[in-house]
Symmetry: C2
Subunit: 335 residues, 2 copies
C-alpha cells in the first residue's frame, strides 16, 4: 500500500457511498449554493451560541450523509472529525450525540482531508467496514475565537480569508457504489518564515505544492492524470503562488485544472476578501460540489488537497511564523 | 482485523522498537523517576515560554526514541502526535522541527493511546514501515491556558488532578524487536452529565469502563488475560469508580491488576491532589515505566487505557457537561 515515503495507493479502493453538507446563508448564496443539502438563513441555527450552532451544522451534515447511505449511527464503526474550535468542541460534542467510536483530528483546515485519508486507511486495512469522516467551521465561532469580539467589526485587508460557515461529511465503506479513494499523500510541514495571519494563503501554498509534487512522484502518474486539483483553502493569493511553485518545480499541471475551494465558494460580488477558509470550506466544496459532479458524470478524477495553517493566537503573539501543511486524497470514478 | 464494532486485532502485530521520555522536576522525584530518559530541573527548559518548553520536551522525547531505534527522522514515514495546547501548537511545531509527514490528533489525555493505536494501524495496514507516536503536556502551559494565570495560585480541592510535565514517544515498526501491539479498542464518548472540572476522574471513569468492557468482549479474552490494566489518567477518585463499574458490569478483573498512571507518577508526599493528568502523563508512564518493565521481563501483557475529558473552558462556561472518552491498546511480550 505504501509507495515512497508518504503515499498510500489502495489495492482495493474504499468507496465514498454518500456525503452530506450543511451551510450558512452566505455560502448558500454563492456560486455553489445549489450543491449543498441543508441551508440555514441565520447564523445561530436557533441555538444559544455560535459554537452550538456549529455543532448543529456538523450533526446535520453527518445525519444527512448517513440517511443517504441508508445507515443509522449503529452501523458506523468509527467517526473521524475535527474543527477549528479549541479542544475540538464541535466535533467532540457531535461525537457525543452520534454515539459512534470517535477519533478526534486536528490539522486546521487540512483536517478536511486528514479525516478522509484516515477513514480510507481504516476501511482499506479492514479496521472498519464503515467510517464517517467530517469537518466543520462557523464564521462567527471562529472569528470570535481567533480574532476579535465580532462586535468590533475589525478591518481586514485583501489578502485575508473569510471563515466559511459549513460542515461536510462523507461515508467511506468497503463495499457500495460511488467514487473511490484510490490514493492518499500525507504531508509534512513547510514553513517559509511568513508571519502575517492576514495572509495565510501565502503561508500555506508551499505545503500544498510540496504535497502535490510528492503525490505525483510517489504515485508515479503524469501531470495531466487528474481532471482537477482542488485545494482548500489557499484563496486567490495562495492559489496563484501554488501554480508558480508547481511550474517552477517542473510539474506542468495546466493552470485551468487547478482550483481552490475558498475561491469557488463565494462570488467576487460577495466581497470575501481573498476567499473562504475553515475546515468546513473544503468539506462542503469536496462533498457538495466535487462529489456531485462525479455522480453526474461530469468529473472522473480529482485530487483533493486540504491545506492547514498550524498557528494559534498564542504562537502569533510569541512571534512565531506560520507552519503550513497539506494532505492529498485522490477521488476517482472507476469503471 | 476488525472484531466486533470497534476492536482491531492485528494479524501481524506491529512492534514498539523503542520509546523515549522527557520529564520535569516533580515527575523525576516521584516513584517512577528512575524510569525516565531525560530529566529537567526547572520548568522553562531554558526557553522563553512554557509552550516552547513543552515543545522542547516533546522534541527530546522523540529524538531519544529515534536514537534508541537507531533511526534518523528521514527513516520515519509518519509522525502522529497531540497535546493539550490550543491548536496543538507543541505537536505542530515539533512536527516542523522533525520534518516528518504529520497527522495531528486530539482526544485530550486519551491522545496518548489514540496516537499509538493509529500508529499501529498504519504499520499493520502496510501504510508505513515506521511511525513515531508521541504526546506531551506541561504543567505551567496547561494551567495557564485552562485555569488561571499561574501567579494567582488558585486553591484546589482533593478531587483535582495536576497536569504532568512530561512527554513520551514510541517508535512503531513492522519489523524489529520489542513488545508488540496485539489489539486496540477505539472508544465512544460516555457522558453521565458531570460538570465539575475539578473532578475529571469521575467524569472519565465511565468511558474507561465501557472501553475496557468492549475490549474484553470484542477481543474475546478472559478477565485475567492481562497482567495489568493501566489507565491514564483517572487519578485516585476515578480509579475507585472504575473498579466498581467493571465489577458491577460483571467483568471481574482483580483490583490489584488495575492501576493508573496519574496515581503512579507522584507519591502522596508530593501532594498531587487526586494524582497527575495530561497527555504526557500516560505517555511517560506507558513508555517509561511499562515498556521498561516489559524489556526487563517483569511484565508480559498490559492493556493501556488512555482517558480524555473532552471539555474546554468555553464549554464549561456554557454550562455543558464533560464528555469522556477512552482508547485501549494491548501491549504484549510475545514469545
Amino acid at each position: 500500500m505504501l509507495q515512497g515515503r508518504q503515499t498510500w495507493v489502495f489495492p482495493v479502493p474504499p468507496v465514498v457511498t454518500a456525503t452530506g453538507t450543511a451551510v450558512g446563508h452566505m455560502e448558500s448564496e454563492g456560486p455553489l449554493g445549489r450543491c449543498f443539502d441543508i441551508i440555514h438563513k441565520e447564523p445561530w441555527l436557533g441555538k444559544e451560541s455560535f459554537e452550538k450552532a456549529e455543532q448543529c451544522l456538523l450533526e446535520q451534515a453527518c445525519l444527512e450523509a448517513l440517511k443517504k447511505a441508508n445507515l443509522d449511527t449503529n452501523g458506523v464503526n468509527m467517526f473521524l472529525a475535527g474543527d477549528l474550535i479549541n479542544q475540538l468542541s464541535s466535533s467532540c460534542f457531535t461525537a457525543r450525540s452520534l454515539k459512534i467510536p470517535f477519533l478526534g483530528l486536528f490539522g486546521a483546515c487540512s483536517t478536511a482531508m486528514e479525516s478522509l485519508a484516515l477513514a480510507s486507511l481504516l476501511v482499506s486495512a479492514g479496521g472498519a467496514h464503515t467510517v464517517l469522516a467530517a469537518t466543520s467551521s462557523h464564521n462567527n465561532a471562529a472569528e470570535k475565537q481567533f480574532r476579535y469580539p465580532n462586535e468590533y467589526g475589525a478591518q481586514k485587508n485583501d489578502t485575508c480569508q473569510l471563515t466559511v460557515t459549513a460542515a461536510g461529511s462523507a461515508v467511506v465503506q468497503d463495499v457500495g457504489n460511488g467514487p473511490k479513494i484510490t490514493a492518499v499523500t500525507i504531508g509534512a510541514i513547510e514553513d517559509m518564515g511568513l508571519k502575517d495571519p492576514f495572509n495565510m494563503g501565502a503561508a500555506m501554498a508551499p505545503a500544498a505544492a510540496q504535497t502535490i509534487i510528492n503525490h505525483f512522484k510517489e504515485r508515479d502518474v503524469a501531470a495531466d492524470y487528474y481532471d482537477l486539483i482542488l485545494t482548500g483553502d489557499l484563496g486567490r493569493v495562495g492559489s496563484k503562488i501554488l501554480v508558480d511553485l508547481l511550474h517552477n518545480a517542473g510539474l506542468m499541471v495546466e493552470s485551468e485544472k487547478i482550483c481552490d475551494g475558498g475561491v469557488l465558494i463565494y462570488s467576487e460580488e460577495q466581497k470575501p476578501f481573498a476567499g473562504g477558509s475553515g475546515c468546513g470550506c473544503m468539506a462542503a466544496v469536496a462533498y457538495g460540489y466535487i462529489y456531485n459532479e462525479m455522480l453526474a458524470g461530469r468529473l472522473k478524477k480529482a485530487l483533493l488537497v486540504a491545506t492547514g495553517a498550524l498557528m494559534s493566537p498564542l504562537t502569533y503573539q510569541q512571534n512565531e511564523s506560520i507552519p503550513g501543511i497539506a494532505h492529498a486524497v485522490a477521488l476517482e470514478v472507476l469503471e
